[in-house]
């Protein structure tokens, strides 16, 4: 009997070793994860999105509850996953005990790999005993991240499929941008906040898709500023002085009044009626959060900036992207509502 128990222990130990793999995350940390991962706790909104795209059935919950207008764009099976809070970002809302109670095989963070987040990963892994992976969430890294995570999560085919979409889009855009002179690139202003007077500076994560799509962010104060801060507040004078060709926003408050507000009338983009509303359901097209949700935004923005070279059927493209990435068939009514103000 005693021998049997010893045997059982040995076997368990053996299976544990045999079925665990070592992976290296983007921060260079070596983390031992189970061979089969079935439950993933997403440390923040970007991580929850990439997990949802790759393997929604493994997601233990959403960082926050979805608004009514977001719900139609999330697959019905996963709309109502529990709200589990976030560990990262501005102010953690997750309870570590809840995280442990969810019993995930893995905690995943997708985003910045700055020291703050590396140390948070280390600390949380130590406290909870749950492997914590940190994957570089820079936009450029999208195909790599999709492949890498697809492999770790055991959904390699799906990872490859999504990575190819991103890769094709990137290279298509790159080919075109190579032919455009820097001075010919459209000058874009991202209007945030109800007044439209907050923006992300050039080089910040909040506006990187402007540059990726071959535009120039008018709020360009050099790489030094971009390293220090992402969002800044502007005066209308400054906007008038910058005089952008195109304004992009996702703030309904701002969009609803920009064409009536006398202050904005002299701005070139307003004069030319080139203010565009970026959809934000289920996730933002430009930012909010800065994750893979921005691929469709990138496609849209490139079309916006270079209508002559990138003409495509927006409705068809949106359907395709939402089907592929969000695994959801959107109704005509929902689609119209989503892109109502985004056409060009």
């Amino acid at each position: 009997m005693r021998r049997f128990i010893q045997c059982a222990f040995l076997m368990m130990a053996a299976t544990a070793t045999a079925y665990a793999v070592e992976v290296t995350d983007s921060a260079g940390r070596t983390v031992t994860v189970p061979d089969t991962i079935t439950r993933i706790y997403a440390a923040g909104p970007p991580a929850s999105i990439i997990t949802y795209m790759l393997a929604p059935e493994k997601l233990t919950g959403w960082p926050r509850a979805h608004h009514a207008y977001e719900r139609p764009f999330i697959n019905e099976a996963y709309r109502d996953l529990p709200v589990t809070g976030r560990l990262t970002g501005r102010g953690s809302t997750a309870n570590l005990e809840v995280v442990i109670g969810l019993n995930p095989d893995l905690i995943l963070d997708f985003g910045s790999i700055r020291q703050t987040y590396v140390s948070l990963a280390e600390k949380t892994q130590e406290q909870t005993g749950i492997p914590y992976l940190l994957i570089d969430g820079r936009f450029e890294n999208t195909p790599t991240a999709l492949r890498q995570l697809g492999k770790i999560l055991g959904v390699e085919t799906r990872g490859e499929e999504l990575a190819e979409y991103a890769e094709n889009l990137f290279s298509e855009i790159d080919q075109h941008i190579a032919t455009v002179k820097e001075d010919d690139k459209p000058r874009v202003y991202l209007a945030r906040g109800p007044e439209g007077l907050e923006t992300g500076v050039a080089g910040s994560i909040n506006t990187e898709i402007i540059e990726r799509a071959g535009g120039r962010n008018v709020a360009d104060y050099g790489p030094e500023i971009a390293r220090q801060r992402n969002l800044v507040s502007m005066s209308i004078e400054e906007v008038l002085d910058l005089d952008p060709d195109i304004i992009v926003t996702w703030d309904r408050q701002f969009y609803d009044q920009v064409y009536q507000n006398p202050l904005w009338q002299p701005v070139r983009a307003v004069k030319n009626r080139a203010v565009y509303f970026a959809p934000a359901a289920p996730f933002g097209w430009i930012d909010k959060p800065p994750s893979i949700n921005r691929l469709i935004g990138l496609k849209w923005m490139t079309g916006l900036l270079y209508p002559d070279h990138f003409s495509f059927d927006l409705e068809e493209e949106v359907r395709h992207f939402y089907r592929l990435f969000y695994q959801v068939e959107i109704s005509d009514a929902d689609l119209q509502q989503l892109i109502a103000w985004s056409r060009y």
Binding site: P45, G89, R90, G91, T93, R192, G193, P194, E195, L197, E198, V201, N206, A219, Y221, L231, V232, S233, M234, S235, I236, E237, E238, L240, D241, W250, D251, R252, Q253, P262, L263, Q265, P266, G284, D287, K288, P289, P290
Partner: protein, 345 residues
């Protein structure tokens, strides 16, 4: 103004007042010519001449717009808010007999911040956000006053301050709750920018909304200017000298709160002005409210005009004005502490 003291003090007040007023006018003109959008002073003169019908030719449309809709409202708003914050500071310092008191003492800024944050959270329109801020400030101070006056004690000012601390920290907690609920990619930065204060988005309508409220609030301060001196001797003495401190205090709290809330609603939370400016004014013309109020308002107007001009020109993006007033206000305050005579200035 009736001559209340020796000639020296009287003429000193007139002199300081005159100089400050001239300074304010000059600075306003200079500030109107400075900004991100390049406008020459000749353009300003041209626009003015056209406005008064002397010049036929209309100025450039954008220049006219920037001047009349952006820069002038902003210059005037900083003048107005500087003046009212200083006035409210004088009133509160006198009323609480404490020179370390600022207009925030009863929680008006925290309440306004909470109101604005809630407005941003609910994605209300800008005007509603401002209204929420204004009401938030008034309601918070109203709650403080109600709590304090329901406690019968012989130190009503002390109870008011304590109630202010309690209600203020409660409002602060609610503000934190709103921040937690806010969208971290969108609403949270908006709340943060709002709480730091800025004149960047001030327009004519804001100015026209706040101005009557401020003037309305100024009336009891001017009318009661002598009674405020008596109140600053303490409740018992005021009572013995024939002043009902409770009644006057109610008026003054309402007036000071009304003007501070109006200022905060259009410009966000701006610290230090209401604390430091009354000290400088008292150093110049003494504590008599009759002279203190106009001088403090002029100093406050000059001060905030200068600071806001810096805020909008220091870098290409806006520097939140609350940060700048702290950078200027804190060292000035330390300097004042060093130079304070044994009693307060």
């Amino acid at each position: 103004m009736v001559e209340i003291l020796g000639k020296t003090n009287q003429s000193q007040t007139v002199l300081s007042g005159g100089l400050l007023a001239i300074c304010l006018i000059l600075l306003s003109v200079i500030a109107s010519g400075i900004g991100q959008y390049p406008i020459d002073y000749s353009d300003i003169i041209h626009a003015l001449l056209h406005y008064f019908g002397i010049e036929e030719e209309a100025p450039d449309q954008t220049i006219r717009l920037v001047l009349s809709e952006v820069r002038l409202p902003r210059v005037l708003a900083s003048v107005l808010v500087g003046a009212v914050l200083a006035a409210a500071g004088c009133v509160f310092q006198g009323m609480f007999r404490n020179p370390l008191v600022s207009p925030d003492i009863l929680g008006v800024s925290t309440g306004a911040g909470l109101g604005a944050a809630a407005g941003i959270l609910l994605s209300l329109s800008i005007i509603s956000i401002q209204l929420m801020a204004f009401l938030g400030g008034l309601i918070t101070v109203g709650a403080v006053y109600l709590v304090a006056s329901s406690i019968r004690q012989h130190e009503p000012t002390l109870i008011l301050v304590l109630a202010g601390i309690v209600i203020g920290s409660l409002a602060g907690a609610c503000l934190s709750l709103v921040k937690i609920l806010a969208d971290p990619y969108d609403q949270l930065p908006a709340i943060t920018f709002w709480l730091l204060g800025s004149f960047a988005a001030v327009d004519k309508i804001d100015l026209l909304g706040a101005l009557p409220l401020c003037i309305l609030a100024l009336i009891p301060m001017v009318l009661l200017r002598w009674r405020i001196n008596v109140l600053s001797l303490g409740d018992e003495e005021a009572r013995a000298l024939g002043v009902n401190p409770d009644k006057i205090r109610l008026f003054l709290i309402f007036a000071a709160t009304l003007m501070t809330a109006a200022g905060v609603a259009i410009a966000g939370v701006i610290g230090w002005v209401g604390l430091v400016v009354p000290h400088i004014a008292r150093l110049l013309v003494g504590p008599n409210f009759n002279r203190l109020l106009p001088i403090a308002m002029l100093i406050g107007a000059n001060f905030l005009l200068i600071v806001d001009t810096i805020a909008r020109t220091l870098t290409q993006t806006e520097t939140p004005i609350g940060i700048l007033t702290a950078f200027v206000g804190a060292p000035v305050f330390v300097w004042l502490l060093f130079h304070a005579r044994r009693s307060w200035m």
